[in-house]
C-alpha cells in the first residue's frame, strides 16, 4: 500500500509545514520533562539542566514550582532566580499560582514552570486569564519566551481512558496531545518501577496525607510498570512521527487517503470514542474527523446533553481532529453518505446500546452501519465501564434550564374532555353509544394535534374514563358489562397517543426548520444591509443592530486603528450598544484572533463574550456581546451562528477598508504625478518669463538714463507682458488645484450665454485684437444655470487658445443651441486645427498641442475648462472642424426651452 506514488509530498502539507515553521519563528521553544508518574525526578532534572544553562549564560528564571517541599529540589531551586507567585483566593483559601503577567513582564530567555497540565482556579480572585496552565504557557511561548515544564504521562488527554482502564484512576487534569506533540523537545525521565518504589519508601516522593490512600493504590508495582510502558511508547510514537516528517519528501508519508471517521452521539461514551479515535489515527498516521449527526431525536435532548456534544467536539478539536456536524433524519444514512464523499477508510462507532426487544424492534446506528458499510471498515468500540462517573467536562454557565411543563395545556386537555362529555350528554338520547365514542375520539385527536404529547395523553385517559363512567352500561360506574367496549377504549388510547406523537414530531421538525430558516434569514438580512452600507463606522452600527436583535444582547464592534489598537466607536452609542466592554480583553482577542470571555477558554467567567472578526490569523476588530441570557450565545447552534455573523462582519469591514484605501491611494498617486509634471512644467514656464523680467528690470534700473524713451517703454512693456503670462499661469494652476481638491462649489445663477461669452471677449479685448470672434447666438436661447465667473473662464480659455494657436486674422465663432435641459455651446475657428492624434488628449493636464514651445500656459487651460464644465454636470469635447480649424463643444445646464 505504501507505494512511492502514495508517499509523494502533498503540497498542502508542505505548505502547512512551512507555515508552521514560520509561525514558530519568534516563538519560544517548549521543552517538556516527561515521566511515567510523579516521583521519577522530572522537576529535579529540569532544575539540574537549568543550572547547566545558567552556567552557560542563559537568562533562566523559575516561574512556578510545585510546593512539594522536597529537600533536593529546594536546594537546587535556591540557586536560581524565582519569580514571585500570585496569591489567588478562592472561597476563603489562598493559593499560590503561576503569575502569567509577571512572567511576561520579566521576559527571561527561559522560564521554568512545573506541572503543565495544572488547572487554574477559574472562580478565584484575581480571575486567571485562562482555565488551564498550558494556555498560560502558550501565551508565554507566543511572547518569545522559551519554557521548560514537566508532564506526567497520565495527564495526556488521548491516554486518559487507557490509563483509567489500566490502573483504575481517572485523571481530571488533562493536557491536549497537540501541546505534547508540538513541543520542541521532550526529555524522558525514566526510572524503573523498583527504583521509584525505593525512593517512595525513602520519603523522597512528596505524598500529602489527604490523598495517601489513593496514592497507595496508585504506587503499586504493576501500575508503575504499566505507566512506564505507556510513557515509553508515547515518546516512541512521537519520535517515529518526527522521523517520518524528517524523511526526505516524507512530509506526507501518511498512507494516502487513510481517513478515520469517528461517529459520536450525545451519550457518555463519546469522549472515549474520541480518545480512541486519536490513538488509532496516530497509530495509522491517518487524518481523522469526528462526526456528530443531529437527528430529530437528538434535537429533543436536554440542554445538558447537547452541551456535552459541544464539549466532545471541542475535545476532538483539541486532539487535532476535524469536526463536522451533519443533519439528517437517520444517523446511519448521514454517516454512510458522509463516509462515501469523504472517502473514509475506517469508521469508529460506539457499541449498540439498545438491548432486548428494543434492539430487535429497531436496528441501532452501529448495527446499520456494520450491515451497510461499503469501502470502509467499521470498528465498534466497547464502552469503558463506569464512563458515567465523569461529569461533563465543561458545563456551560446558565445552561442548566429544565424543560418547562406547560400546566395550562393540561388544563386545556381536561377542558376537551369536559366539552366532549357535554356534547355526548346532548347526543345521548338520540344517538347510539358507538357514535358517542366517536365524539370522544375526535376530542383525543384534536388534543393530540394541538396540545402536545403529555396533555393529549391526559385527554385520552380522561375520555376513556368519562366515557366508561357516564355512558357505558352499567352507567355511572367504572364497571363494563360488555367486553367489546375494551376494544373501543384501546383504540381511543392508541389513536390519542399516536396522533400526539406524530404531531409532536411534525411540530419539532417545523421548529427545527423554522429555526434554521430564521438563522439563515437573519444572516442574509445583515449581509444585505452591510452590502449597501458605506463606511466602516456605518457597517459597525448595522452589525451591532443585527447582532443585538438576533442574539438578544447588547453588542459593540471595536475597531483597531492603524497601529492595531482597539477603540470604542466614536459617535453617539445606539441603544443596543455595549458600553462596558473591556478594552483590554478585546485587545487580547484582536491580537490573538481567538475568542475570550463568557464560556470560552480564556476568562470564561467574564460577563461578556468577545469574538474576533474576520480570519483567525488576521482579526480586523472584535465583536463584544453581553447576552441577556448566556444560552443565547452559548448553545451550540447559536455559538456557530455567532461565529458566522462575526466572519461576515469581518469580511464586510475588510471590504470597506479596502474601498477606503484604494481611492485614497490612487488619488494620492495622481496628486503626486501632478506635482511632478507641475514642477517640470513650471521650471520652463516660470523661468522663461522670469529671465525676461529680471533682465529687463535690471537694465532699466542700471542703465535707465542711457536709454531713450521708446526703449525704456519697450523694456517695461515686456516686463508687464511676461508678468501677466506668469500671473495667468499661476492662477490657472491654483484654479486647477482647487478643482482637484473639490474645494470649488459652483455658485450657480441664471445667466445668459451671450452675457458670459461677451464678458470673456471683453476680458480678452486686447489679446483678441487680431482674432475677431463673432457671437452667433439665437435670440430665444434659454438662460443657463451656472457659475458666471467659472463659465466666463471657460470661454476665456477657449478664446485665448484661438489667440495663441492660430495665425493673426483667423476668425472664430460662438454658437449655441438648446438641447433638452442643456444648452450646447460651440466655439470654433478656422485656424490650423488640432495636431494629429486624439483631440480628446488635449484636456489632459499639461498637454499642449504643439510640444514645448514659447507659448506659455502649461497646457492647463483645457484641463480647467473640462473641470469647470464637469462641475456643472456638462461635458466638453474637441473635434476637428469640417474643412479646416478646431471646434470645441460643451454643454451647460439650462432651463427647458419654451
Amino acid at each position: 500500500m505504501n507505494t512511492p506514488a502514495d508517499t509523494r509530498p502533498d503540497p498542502d502539507q508542505l505548505l502547512a509545514r512551512v507555515q508552521a515553521e514560520e509561525a514558530r519563528a519568534g516563538r519560544g521553544r517548549l521543552r517538556i520533562f516527561f515521566g511515567a508518574s510523579a516521583g521519577v525526578g522530572k522537576t529535579f532534572s529540569m532544575l539540574e539542566s537549568a543550572h547547566v544553562a545558567k552556567g552557560a549564560g542563559t537568562d533562566i528564571v523559575i516561574g512556578y514550582l510545585e510546593p512539594h517541599g522536597r529537600m533536593e529540589t529546594e536546594r537546587l531551586a535556591a540557586g536560581l532566580e524565582r519569580l514571585p507567585t500570585l496569591a489567588v483566593s478562592y472561597k476563603g483559601i489562598v493559593r499560590q499560582e503561576f503569575d502569567l503577567d509577571g512572567a511576561l513582564a520579566r521576559h527571561p530567555d527561559v522560564l521554568l514552570v512545573d506541572e503543565l497540565a495544572h488547572s487554574n482556579i477559574t472562580g478565584g480572585l484575581p480571575q486567571p486569564r485562562h482555565p488551564k496552565r498550558w494556555q498560560d504557557i502558550e501565551e508565554v511561548l507566543e511572547a518569545g519566551i522559551s519554557v521548560w515544564t514537566t508532564v506526567s504521562v497520565q495527564h495526556l488527554e488521548s491516554l486518559n481512558d487507557l490509563i483509567y482502564q489500566t490502573i483504575g484512576v481517572r485523571q481530571s487534569e488533562t493536557l491536549p496531545d497537540r501541546i505534547f506533540d508540538e513541543a520542541d523537545d521532550i526529555e524522558l525521565i525514566d526510572l524503573p518501577a523498583d527504583d521509584l518504589l525505593a525512593r517512595l519508601h525513602a520519603g523522597k516522593v512528596y505524598v500529602s496525607e489527604a490523598v495517601a490512600t489513593a496514592v497507595e493504590r496508585f504506587f503499586r508495582k504493576p501500575n508503575l510498570m504499566a505507566l512506564r510502558e505507556i510513557a515509553l511508547r508515547r515518546v516512541a510514537e512521537r519520535v517515529e512521527a518526527a522521523s517520518r516528517a524528517m524523511r526526505p519528501g516524507g512530509g506526507g508519508a501518511r498512507i494516502a487517503g487513510d481517513h478515520i471517521l469517528v461517529a459520536v452521539g450525545p451519550d457518555l461514551q463519546a469522549e472515549q470514542l474520541v480518545r480512541t479515535g486519536k490513538r488509532i489515527a496516530d497509530a495509522l498516521a491517518a487524518s481523522w474527523t469526528v462526526v456528530y449527526v443531529e437527528t430529530l431525536a437528538l434535537l429533543r435532548l436536554s440542554d445538558m446533553d447537547r452541551n456535552r456534544r459541544v464539549a466532545v467536539l471541542r475535545l476532538a478539536e483539541s486532539l487535532g481532529a476535524e469536526t463536522v456536524t451533519l443533519d439528517g433524519p437517520s444517523a446511519a444514512e448521514a454517516l454512510l453518505g458522509y463516509a462515501q464523499t469523504r472517502g473514509a477508510t475506517r469508521m469508529l462507532v460506539g457499541a449498540p446500546k439498545r438491548r432486548g426487544w428494543r434492539a430487535w424492534l429497531r436496528a441501532s446506528t452501529s448495527t446499520t452501519l456494520i450491515k451497510r458499510a461499503q469501502g470502509f471498515d467499521v470498528m465498534v468500540v466497547a464502552p469503558a465501564d463506569a464512563t458515567k462517573r465523569r461529569a461533563s467536562p465543561s458545563r456551560l454557565p446558565g445552561a442548566a434550564a429544565q424543560p418547562v411543563i406547560r400546566w395550562d395545556r393540561y388544563g386545556w386537555a381536561a377542558g376537551v374532555s369536559v366539552l366532549c362529555t357535554l356534547l355526548a350528554f346532548a347526543m345521548y338520547p338520540h344517538f347510539e353509544l358507538s357514535n358517542l365514542a366517536m365524539v370522544y375520539l375526535l376530542g383525543v385527536t384534536v388534543a393530540g394535534l394541538r396540545l402536545g404529547r403529555g396533555p393529549s395523553t391526559l385527554t385520552a385517559v380522561l375520555n376513556v374514563a368519562v366515557f366508561d363512567f357516564c355512558f357505558v352500561p352499567p352507567r355511572f360506574t367504572f364497571a363494563v358489562s360488555d367486553v367489546q367496549y375494551l376494544v373501543t377504549f384501546g383504540a381511543m388510547l392508541t389513536i390519542g397517543l399516536l396522533t400526539a406523537t406524530l404531531t409532536a414530531n411534525v411540530r419539532q421538525q417545523t421548529r427545527v426548520a423554522g429555526a434554521r430558516e430564521r438563522r439563515t434569514a437573519a444572516l442574509y438580512a445583515m449581509s444585505r444591509e452591510l452590502a449597501v452600507t458605506r463606511g466602516i463606522e456605518g457597517m459597525a452600527r448595522v452589525a451591532v443592530r443585527h447582532v443585538a436583535e438576533v442574539f438578544q444582547c447588547r453588542a459593540v464592534v471595536l475597531l483597531p486603528d492603524v497601529e492595531g489598537k482597539l477603540h470604542r466607536p466614536s459617535g453617539a452609542p445606539a441603544e443596543s450598544s455595549l458600553r462596558g466592554a473591556d478594552l483590554a480583553v478585546a485587545q487580547w482577542v484582536n491580537d490573538h484572533g481567538r475568542r475570550a470571555g463568557l464560556g470560552s477558554d480564556t476568562l470564561p467567567a467574564a460577563p461578556a463574550l468577545y469574538v474576533p472578526l474576520g480570519d483567525e490569523d488576521r482579526a480586523t476588530g472584535v465583536l463584544a456581546v453581553l447576552p441577556a441570557n448566556a444560552r443565547r450565545v452559548l448553545l451550540p447552534e447559536q455559538s456557530h451562528l455567532l461565529d458566522t455573523f462575526a466572519s461576515q462582519i469581518g469580511l464586510a469591514l475588510d471590504r470597506a477598508r479596502l474601498a477606503d484605501v484604494a481611492p485614497a491611494s490612487s488619488l494620492a498617486a495622481e496628486r503626486e504625478s501632478l506635482r511632478n509634471t507641475l514642477l517640470a512644467s513650471i521650471s520652463h514656464d516660470l523661468r522663461t518669463p522670469l529671465a525676461v523680467m529680471v533682465g529687463a528690470a535690471s537694465t532699466l534700473a542700471e542703465r535707465g538714463e542711457a536709454l531713450d524713451a521708446p526703449r525704456r517703454y519697450q523694456l517695461a512693456a515686456s516686463i508687464e507682458l511676461k508678468a501677466r503670462e506668469m500671473a495667468d499661469l499661476v492662477s490657472n494652476v491654483l484654479d486647477l488645484m482647487r478643482f482637484q481638491s473639490g474645494q470649488v462649489e459652483p455658485m450657480r445663477d441664471w445667466q445668459s450665454v451671450e452675457d458670459l461669452a461677451g464678458a470673456a471677449l471683453q476680458r480678452l479685448d486686447e489679446r483678441l485684437s487680431d482674432h475677431p470672434i463673432e457671437l452667433r447666438l439665437p435670440p430665444d436661447l434659454p438662460p443657463v444655470h451656472v457659475d458666471a465667473g467659472l463659465i466666463v473662464q471657460v470661454f476665456a480659455n477657449l478664446f485665448d487658445n484661438i489667440a495663441k494657436y492660430t495665425p493673426p486674422a483667423t476668425r472664430g465663432w460662438v454658437s449655441a443651441a438648446s438641447e433638452g435641459g442643456f444648452v450646447r455651446v460651440v466655439v470654433e475657428d478656422e485656424g490650423p486645427g488640432f495636431p494629429p492624434g486624439d483631440p480628446g488628449q488635449l484636456f489632459e493636464k499639461f498637454h499642449r498641442g504643439s510640444g514645448e514651445g514659447a507659448i506659455v500656459g502649461a497646457g492647463l487651460g483645457l484641463a480647467i475648462c473640462r473641470a469647470i464644465v464637469r462641475a456643472h454636470g456638462g461635458e466638453i469635447e474637441a473635434r476637428r472642424r469640417e474643412g479646416r480649424g478646431a471646434r470645441f463643444e460643451f454643454t451647460l445646464p439650462a432651463a427647458e426651452s419654451s
Partner: protein, 232 residues
C-alpha cells in the same frame, strides 16, 4: 486736472505694492497717505479725511469688509477695493457692503488710474448732473425719462430706465447684481436674476451699436454690471 491735489489713502500691507501705488499715484499728482494695517487705516482716515480709499482686502490684522462698514458709518468717501482673483465672494461682499469699485490684482497702471479717476469724479459730481448721460450717439435724461438717438426718439421701458438710473449713479463702477435687483425690482426678487438678464439684453439691443460686443453696459461676470460712459 484742477482737482489734482486729491488725497488718497492707500491701505496695503505689502510694502512693495504700497510703494508702486505711491509712485504711480504721485506721478498722477495725487497726495498719498499710507496705512499698513486696519487699525492704522482707520486713524488715518479719520485724521486726514482723504478723498478716496484704496483698500487691500487681504489685510493681516483685520477684515477689509469691517473697515468698509466702519468707514461707511460716518463717510460717503469712495472706496476702491484691491483684491486677488480667488476672492470672488469677498469682492461681492465688499461691493454689497458699500465699496464703490474694485481692481483685481495684478492690475495694470492704466486700469487702476481709470478706476480711481471715475470714483473721484462720481464723488464731486452733483446729483442732478448724474441724470444726464451720453452713451455714444445717444443722449439720455434719466430724470425726465427721455432718450434721444440720432435717428429720433427712443422708447425705453420703466424697468430699463430704473436700471440705467441705478447704474448711472455709480457710473464707471461695478454695481452688484443684488444691488441692481434690490433697487430696480425690489428686495423680494433677490436671488432671481433672470429678469435682470432679460432687461440687460433688451437695453443693450437699444443702446449698444453691437449688442454682442457691448461698449457701455458691461458685464462683470459673477459680480454685476458696469455702465461706462464715454470719457470726455
Amino acid at each position: 486736472m484742477t482737482e489734482a491735489m486729491h488725497q488718497i489713502l492707500v491701505i496695503e500691507d505689502e510694502p512693495a505694492i504700497r510703494n508702486i501705488l505711491k509712485v504711480l499715484l504721485e506721478a498722477e499728482r495725487y497726495r498719498v497717505i499710507e496705512a499698513d494695517s486696519a487699525v492704522r487705516a482707520e486713524i488715518e482716515a479719520r485724521t486726514h479725511k482723504p478723498d478716496l480709499l484704496l483698500l487691500d482686502l487681504g489685510l493681516p490684522d483685520g477684515d477689509g469688509l469691517a473697515i468698509i462698514r466702519r468707514v461707511r458709518a460716518w463717510s460717503p468717501v469712495p472706496i476702491v477695493v484691491l483684491s486677488a482673483r480667488t476672492m470672488e465672494e469677498q469682492k461681492i461682499a465688499a461691493l454689497d457692503g458699500g465699496a464703490d469699485d474694485y481692481v483685481t490684482k495684478p492690475f495694470s497702471a492704466p486700469e487702476l488710474l481709470a478706476r480711481v479717476r471715475s470714483a473721484l469724479r462720481r464723488n464731486v459730481r452733483a446729483p442732478e448732473q448724474s441724470s444726464r448721460l451720453k452713451l455714444g450717439d445717444i443722449q439720455l435724461d434719466l430724470a425726465r425719462r427721455e432718450a434721444r438717438a440720432p435717428s429720433g426718439e427712443m422708447r425705453l421701458t420703466p424697468l430699463e430706465y430704473r436700471l440705467l438710473e441705478c447704474l448711472a449713479r455709480h457710473l464707471g463702477a461695478v454695481v452688484t447684481q443684488n444691488q441692481l435687483i434690490r433697487e430696480v425690482w425690489g428686495p423680494e426678487r433677490l436671488g432671481d436674476s433672470r429678469g435682470l438678464r432679460v432687461c440687460v439684453m433688451g437695453l443693450r439691443a437699444k443702446i449698444e451699436p453691437d449688442p454682442h460686443k457691448p461698449r457701455y453696459l458691461l458685464t462683470e461676470a459673477g459680480l454685476g454690471y458696469r455702465l461706462r460712459a464715454d470719457e470726455p
